[in-house]
Subunit: 314 residues, 2 copies
């Protein structure tokens, strides 16, 4: 059904938004039981000393205290504690509000994410709505032969409820996009720290900063990003109003123009270097536009420090 991957190369990160995970695990068991599951306790659950996890799951729990011990008071979303501490090639990130969607392509959202990552992406030339690597599908007529091999896909961004569309497409190189914090899968070895956590920073575009940076780095490194299947059902969907700072239209426009035109030096060939250089560019070119952008640059470098510290400790 999907390209082979050793289950030992995959971590599934689950952010626990409530203390009892029984219902969540019951529904996800068929799709996640062959992988290690890293359960991250939401800090708002601090009062509850223990999470309820049904037996039979290969899992590891990170409490709010564990996260604090690791990150101090850094303003990161906890979902990314799991991404940070994982030492696997591939990480799938869910939270306990996610439920498998009945119409999720293969019917197995995790397998769909792995298929997305393990088949090539085609960022250099748009193939309309056809995923050319799907069984029985091919490239559109005339699609340049030199590009049909595709590139390595490093990020699979699934969708939430809303109108269901049975498709996966590569987001073209150069296009900016929103990357949500859950229902995503990442090649952690390749994209590494460039999959930024959501930053709890008061700044224009803070809500989509991770997607802006991650996509720019993936494009720079010649790697691919896909969007579409798998769908998950969520109580909070990814469609609808936004909590973004809306009063800074000029700053927003300046930042979008920055991301549209920013180029990293060719010498930056690993994700960590890209993140550092990008943070420096943000501070240099956007710091004077709005103070929030300097905070975002700080947060990027702080995240990178944590990443490097964890990597060094291995």
């Amino acid at each position: 059904m999907f390209p082979e991957v050793d289950p030992g190369e995959v971590d599934v990160v689950v952010v626990a938004l409530e203390p009892d995970l029984t219902a969540f695990i019951d529904e996800w068991q068929p799709f996640i039981s062959r992988f290690r599951v890293l359960i991250i306790q939401d800090p708002n659950l601090g009062a509850h000393k223990s999470l309820r996890v049904p037996p039979g799951l290969n899992h590891k729990i990170y409490t709010a205290a564990d996260a604090r011990g690791l990150l101090g008071n850094a303003a990161f979303a906890v979902s990314h504690v799991g991404y940070l501490v994982s030492d696997k090639r591939i990480v799938v990130i869910l939270d306990s509000s996610c439920r498998p969607h009945r119409s999720s392509g293969s019917g197995d959202p995790v397998a769909q994410h792995l298929t997305n990552l393990l088949t090539p992406a085609t960022p250099s030339y748009f193939n309309t709505l056809y995923d050319p690597y799907r069984s029985g599908v091919d490239f559109v007529r005339g699609y340049p032969f030199s590009l049909r091999g595709g590139v390595h896909c490093v990020l699979s961004s699934g969708l939430s409820e809303g109108q269901f569309v049975d498709a996966v497409i590569t987001v073209p190189a150069g296009a900016m996009m929103v990357v949500p914090a859950v229902n995503i899968a990442c090649d952690r070895r390749a994209l590494g720290p460039a999959l930024l956590p959501p930053f709890h920073v008061e700044a224009p575009l803070a809500e989509i900063w991770a997607g802006l940076c991650g996509k720019l780095v993936a494009d720079h490194l010649g790697l691919g990003v896909k969007s579409g299947l798998p769908y998950v059902a969520r109580s909070c969907t990814d469609i609808g109003p936004s909590s973004a700072v809306v009063s800074a239209a000029e700053a927003e426009r300046a930042a979008l123009e920055f991301f549209r035109t920013a180029r990293l030096p060719r010498t930056a060939v690993v994700a960590a270097d890209c993140v550092r250089l990008l943070a420096e560019l943000v501070r240099e070119r956007l710091g004077g536009v709005h103070p929030g952008f300097s905070l975002l640059a700080d947060a990027m470098l702080a995240w990178l420090d944590f990443w490097n510290a964890v990597e060094l400790s291995r």
Copy 2:
């Protein structure tokens, strides 16, 4: 159901691939009868003096002799004779191998094309598979507010059979794409001669030249292009092997790099100027790479001459 358009502002171009259009018109009548229909006789039908068109259709026939009178021996696909002679704001192009697809969104492929053109496009920021202007749909969370107004959509590129996907998306600015010669609709006033005809020229990428040029010009002018619905059923699908010149991989790569990086001057603000300047750039930068590219530049300028001549004659 779809935004209002005066039927008098729309031409439907039909390329007649066989002499008897009875079956074709029978199926399309409900969708095209309120528009003027320009029927273009395929040159291979030269022996048949007359086309069979059922009564009740507001139509005008252009025979192969008419096309020759207009274009001489220019190496253009006849589909674009209709696009050239139309004086309407919007042109929808079909050929007689197209049949309405049972799952064509609204069920009315022509109305779907008009909806695509008359609702904004969002080329500056990817909205994954959600068409934000579809009833009941919205932008993804965090989508920049300054971009939610979208831009004017000038080209709607429908699909043929294959896996049916119930979606319309904007192709991001900067992305290269294939634009087929039929099942498309165009804002002729805005995109004008930049919707090139398929050129019968022996050159790398000749089959997709129209899409490469049209998309680059639309991006330069800040206009949008959509892909997806409507689907039509065709005997010849847009998926599958290609007749492109495949032996010139180096030339193909050079041309793709050219289109990825080519920039037109800001002073070019109408489509005709963009086409002329683009043809000159092609000759200058690709003429030495492969002789076919000079032929394509010649064909672009020849097409532009025909366009200007027809416009002047009005």
